[in-house]
C-alpha cells in the first residue's frame, strides 16, 4: 500500500493519455501515468510473428484476464467477446493499429442539423440519438494539424483551404497545409483499386496513415514489411504514442509512468471534487494517488466502467452520471467485406502497411445523396488485407467464394491459388447512436482483479444500419468487378449482431449537462477536476473513419485548455 501526491494523474496512456502526459508535463505539471499493461520497446517488435501478434493477439487485452462481455439485447445472456481490438500497453492501440489517420468531414460535426436540412427530420430513425457535436471542425483544425505534424502522418491533401486537389481526398475538410509526409507507396492491389474506382467515376486516393514514408523526427521511413496492423513496428516508422509522445514526456523530468497498474476507482469527496485514484499494482498491492486533476483515458469500456465502479453514497449512480447518460449511445463501425481474386496477375498484398491501403470516400458520411435509399450516413470503402492483416493465417479466416468448401482438397487449392492473388476490400460503415446500446457492469463475469467486467449490450441489425451495409457492400462488389477480378464475393457481416471495430461512446460530449456526460474538452459536468478523454466522448461516429486522429486532436485541444486556462483557475468549468 502506497500513497503519493501529484498534480495530475492519467489513467491509460494511449492515444489520448499519452498526448496529455506529454503536453502537461512539458508545461511544468507533475504527471503520473497509470498503465494496465507493460511499456514495450521497438526492439520487442523484431519478431515478425503472425501467430503471436495476429492470431493470439499478443498486444491486445487478454480475453480471460480482462474480459468484456456482449449480449444483443437485455433479455439475452452476455458472453465474453473472443477478440478485444484495443491496446494493452503504454501507447495503447496506437502500438498495433493500422495507423489510419482521418480528419472528420466538416459537416460530420453538425450531422443532425445537416441531415434535417437535406432530408427532413423523418430521415433520422426515431430511436436514434443522433446529435450535433458541441464543437466545429474549425475549432479542431489547428489540433488536427498539430497531431499530423507532431506525430508524423503520410498522405496527400485533397482540399487545401477550399481548393480541391485531384489525387487527394476531394471530400475532406479544408486543411491549412499539406500533410507533413508524402503518401506511402501504393501496392499492386491499390493500383488496381485506383483504376477500377476511376472507371466508375469515383475518387480514389492513398489512405492517410500515421506511418512515416520518409525519415522524420529521427525515425526511419517505413520498410513495407507488411507486419503492420496487429504488430508493433520493428523500425518505429509507425507514429505510435509509444515512440512519439512518451519520449517527450520522459524528457521533461515531470512524468512518471507506472505500468502493471490496474486503476479500480476514482476517489471523490462530498463536495463533488475528485481527489485522486486507487489502483492495484502488479504485486496486488492496493495503492492510492492523490491528485488535483484526474484524467481518465483508457479504451471506452473502461471509461464507463471506472465511473460506475467509483460510485459513492453521494454519487450512487456512478461518477459523472447526473444526466443518466453514462454508458449509453455506444457505437461501432460495422466492417462489410468483399473479396476479389485475379487470374492474370499476382497481387502479393502481404506487402506494405496492411490496413485499408487505398480509399474511396464518395460513399462516406453525407458525400452522396441518400434520397430514397432508406438510410443515412455511409462508409469509407478501402482495399487492403483480410482482417487488416496480410499473413496467411489471416487469409484462412476468409469465407471462400460460394461453391468452394472451407476445407479439403478444393479449399487447399483455393488458398494456394488465391492467397497471393487476392484483394480484400472493406466498407467501414458508420453506425448511428442509440441510447439503448450500452455499457454497464456484468453481474456475473469478473476480471483477473475481481472487478465486474464491462458488459456491452448492442445489436447493429437495425433497419437503417442494415440498409447501409447492403448498399455499400454492393458498391464494393462493383469496384471489384471494375478491377477485373475473376471472383468477387461479399463476406457475411456479423450475423449475430455483435459490434464491429472502433467502439465509441458511453461518456458522450455535449453542450448541456442534462443530456451529456462531458463538455467538448472532456471535462465532466459533475466534477470539474475530472476529465474523460478519448472516443468514449464521441456523440456520433462522425463518419466511417477510424477514430484515432480525432482522439489525438481532441487530446491536444484538452491539453491546450488545461495548460492555458484551467490551470490559472483550477476547478473552473471550461
Amino acid at each position: 500500500m502506497s500513497t503519493e501526491k501529484t498534480d495530475v494523474v492519467i489513467v491509460g496512456v494511449g492515444a489520448a493519455g499519452g498526448i496529455l502526459a506529454a503536453e502537461l508535463s512539458k508545461a511544468g505539471m507533475k504527471v503520473v501515468g497509470l498503465e494496465r499493461g507493460p511499456r514495450l520497446k521497438t526492439e520487442d517488435f523484431m519478431a515478425h510473428d503472425e501467430l503471436r501478434f495476429f492470431a493470439r493477439q499478443d498486444l491486445r487485452p487478454n480475453i480471460k484476464r480482462s474480459p468484456v462481455t456482449w449480449r444483443p439485447n437485455v433479455n439475452a445472456r452476455a458472453h465474453p467477446l473472443q477478440e478485444l481490438d484495443y491496446g494493452n500497453e503504454a501507447g495503447g492501440g496506437t502500438v498495433h493499429y493500422g495507423s489510419l489517420s482521418w480528419r472528420m468531414h466538416e459537416d460530420d460535426f453538425r450531422v443532425r442539423t445537416k441531415t434535417i436540412e437535406r432530408y427532413g427530420a423523418s430521415a433520422i430513425p426515431a430511436d436514434s440519438s443522433l446529435v450535433d457535436w458541441p464543437l466545429s471542425y474549425a475549432e479542431l483544425e489547428p489540433f488536427y494539424d498539430k497531431a499530423e505534424y507532431e506525430l508524423g502522418v503520410s498522405g496527400k491533401a485533397g482540399n487545401l483551404e477550399g481548393k480541391k486537389i485531384e489525387g487527394g481526398n476531394i471530400f475532406e475538410a479544408p486543411r491549412k497545409r499539406e500533410y507533413p509526409l508524402p503518401p506511402l507507396i501504393v501496392d499492386e492491389s491499390g493500383l488496381l483499386y485506383e483504376a477500377g474506382a476511376k472507371k466508375l467515376g469515383l475518387h480514389p486516393f492513398p489512405s492517410p496513415r500515421a506511418i512515416i514514408s520518409q525519415p522524420y523526427h529521427d525515425r526511419p521511413g517505413c520498410t513495407y514489411c507488411g507486419f503492420c496492423q496487429a504488430f508493433g513496428c520493428h523500425v518505429a516508422a509507425k507514429s505510435s504514442i509509444l515512440v512519439t509522445k512518451l519520449p517527450e514526456a520522459d524528457a521533461t523530468g515531470n512524468f512518471k509512468l507506472i505500468t502493471g497498474a490496474m486503476c479500480y476507482r476514482v476517489n471523490s469527496d462530498d463536495s463533488g471534487k475528485v481527489t485522486g485514484v486507487s489502483y492495484y499494482g502488479p504485486d496486488r498491492s492496493d495503492n492510492t494517488i492523490e491528485a488535483d486533476l484526474v484524467i481518465v483515458s483508457p479504451f471506452i469500456y473502461d471509461n464507463t466502467r471506472l465511473m460506475l465502479l467509483s460510485r459513492t453514497a453521494k454519487f450512487p449512480n456512478g461518477l459523472a452520471n447526473s444526466s443518466g447518460h453514462l454508458g449509453k449511445h455506444i457505437m461501432a463501425h460495422m466492417m462489410a467485406g468483399v473479396f476479389v481474386t485475379f487470374d492474370d496477375r499476382y497481387v502479393n498484398n502481404f506487402m506494405g502497411p496492411s490496413a485499408q491501403k487505398h480509399t474511396v470516400d464518395d460513399y462516406n458520411a453525407d458525400n452522396f445523396d441518400h434520397s430514397g435509399l432508406g438510410f443515412i450516413r455511409g462508409a469509407q470503402l478501402s482495399i487492403g488485407t483480410p482482417n487488416l492483416e496480410g499473413g496467411p493465417i489471416s487469409a484462412t479466416t476468409i469465407a471462400p467464394p460460394p461453391g468452394t468448401p472451407r476445407w479439403g482438397a478444393a479449399y487447399r487449392d483455393f488458398i494456394a491459388r488465391a492467397y497471393a492473388r487476392h484483394g480484400a476490400m472493406v466498407a467501414q460503415t458508420e453506425n448511428l447512436p442509440y441510447a439503448d446500446q450500452t455499457i454497464d457492469l456484468d453481474p456475473d463475469v469478473r476480471d483477473a482483479w475481481g472487478l465486474p467486467a464491462p458488459r456491452v449490450t448492442y445489436d447493429w441489425r437495425r433497419p437503417n444500419e442494415r440498409a447501409r451495409v447492403d448498399f455499400v457492400q454492393k458498391k464494393l462488389v462493383e469496384i471489384g468487378q471494375a478491377m477485373g477480378g475473376v471472383e468477387v464475393w461479399p463476406a457475411p457481416v456479423s450475423p449475430a449482431g455483435a459490434p464491429g471495430a472502433h467502439h465509441e461512446g458511453g461518456t458522450r460530449m455535449g453542450s448541456d449537462p442534462k443530456d451529456s456526460v462531458v463538455n467538448k474538452y472532456g471535462q465532466t459536468w459533475d466534477h470539474h477536476n475530472l476529465f474523460l478523454v478519448g472516443s468514449s466522448t464521441y456523440p456520433t461516429m462522425g463518419a466511417g473513419f477510424n477514430p484515432t486522429l480525432t482522439i489525438e486532436a481532441l487530446a491536444y485541444m484538452t491539453a491546450d485548455a488545461i495548460v492555458n486556462r484551467y490551470r490559472k483557475n483550477p476547478g473552473q468549468l471550461l
Binding site: 510473428d49 501467430l51 499492386e188 513495407y224 499476382y346 502479393n348 506487402m351 479439403g408 494456394a416 497471393a420
Partner: protein
C-alpha cells in the same frame, strides 16, 4: 523441435529400418542441431530386433512421444488435419507441415486451457464414429473421414454435446491452419510447407516499390522464418 508424432519416422522405427541418412534428409535445412543429434542417437542404438519390438510396443501404449496427445488421439488429430488440408504431389498438406506437432505443443503450452475441450471432443468423435462406422475415426477410409468431418461441420453428429460438433470442427480447422501457416518455431509449417503452398515469403524485413507493384510471384529473397531460411522463395512444391 519438430519430429514428435512424425508418421514417417514411426514407420521407420516399427520396421527397424531407420537410418541416419533418412533422418537428415527430411528438411535438412531446418533441423536444429539438438534434434539432429537425438536422431543419430536413436539410430545408433543398434538394439536387437526383440528390443525394437518392445520399444515400439511401449511407444504405442504409453502415449507416444508427443507432449500432450496419447497415441490414438495423435493419430486421430493427424488424420483429421490431413483431411482438412490434404497433401498432394507439389501441394504440401497437414502431414507434410507436421500440423499434429503444432497442436500437440500448443495444447501443452499456450492452449493448455483447451486440453479438456480436445479430450472431450475427441472422445465424442470416437463415440460418433463407433456408432456410425463401428470404427474409430483414425481407422476410417478417407471418404468416410470426409463424410464424418462434413457431419461435424454442419452440426449433424448427435453424440456431440460439449463441445458441439461445430465448435470442435471450427477449433480443429483453426488450429490446423495455424499449424500450416504459423512460423516453424511453433512446431508446424515444417520446411515452410504452408508458406510454399501459398507463396508467402515469411518474416521479410521489407519490400521495395518494385516488389509491391510487381504482378509476379515474389522470388527476390529466400523464405525467412524467425530462426531460419531456405534458399529460394520460388515454390518447390
Amino acid at each position: 523441435m519438430s519430429r514428435k508424432h512424425n508418421a514417417t519416422r514411426r514407420a521407420f522405427v516399427v520396421g527397424g529400418a531407420i537410418g541416419a541418412g533418412a533422418a537428415a534428409a527430411a528438411g535438412a535445412a531446418l533441423v536444429p542441431e539438438a534434434f539432429a543429434k537425438s536422431g543419430e542417437r536413436e539410430t545408433a542404438m543398434d538394439a536387437p530386433a526383440a528390443d525394437h519390438a518392445a520399444i515400439t510396443e511401449m511407444s504405442a501404449t504409453n502415449g507416444g512421444s508427443g507432449a500432450f496427445f496419447n497415441d490414438d488421439d495423435a493419430h486421430t488429430v493427424a488424420a483429421f488435419a490431413e483431411r482438412l488440408m490434404p497433401g498432394a504431389p507439389g501441394k504440401p498438406g497437414a502431414t507434410d507441415a507436421n500440423v499434429l506437432n503444432y497442436i500437440d505443443l500448443a495444447l501443452s503450452g499456450a492452449y493448455e486451457d483447451q486440453q479438456y475441450f480436445y479430450r472431450t471432443g475427441l472422445a465424442q468423435l470416437d463415440a460418433h464414429c463407433a456408432k456410425t462406422y463401428a470404427k474409430p475415426f483414425r481407422q476410417l477410409a478417407q471418404a468416410q473421414q470426409d463424410e464424418c468431418i462434413a457431419a461435424l461441420e454442419h452440426g449433424k453428429a448427435p453424440e456431440f454435446v460439449w463441445p458441439t460438433a461445430q465448435a470442435f470442427f471450427d477449433t480443429l480447422r483453426k488450429h490446423t491452419m495455424e499449424g500450416m501457416f504459423a512460423d516453424p518455431v511453433y512446431g508446424g509449417n515444417q520446411d515452410f510447407a504452408g508458406w510454399r503452398l501459398v507463396g508467402f515469403p515469411g518474416a521479410q524485413p521489407g519490400f521495395t516499390r518494385a516488389d509491391m507493384q510487381s504482378t509476379d510471384a515474389f522470388t527476390r529473397a529466400p523464405i525467412v522464418g524467425l530462426q531460419s531460411e531456405i534458399a529460394s522463395a520460388s515454390k518447390k512444391g
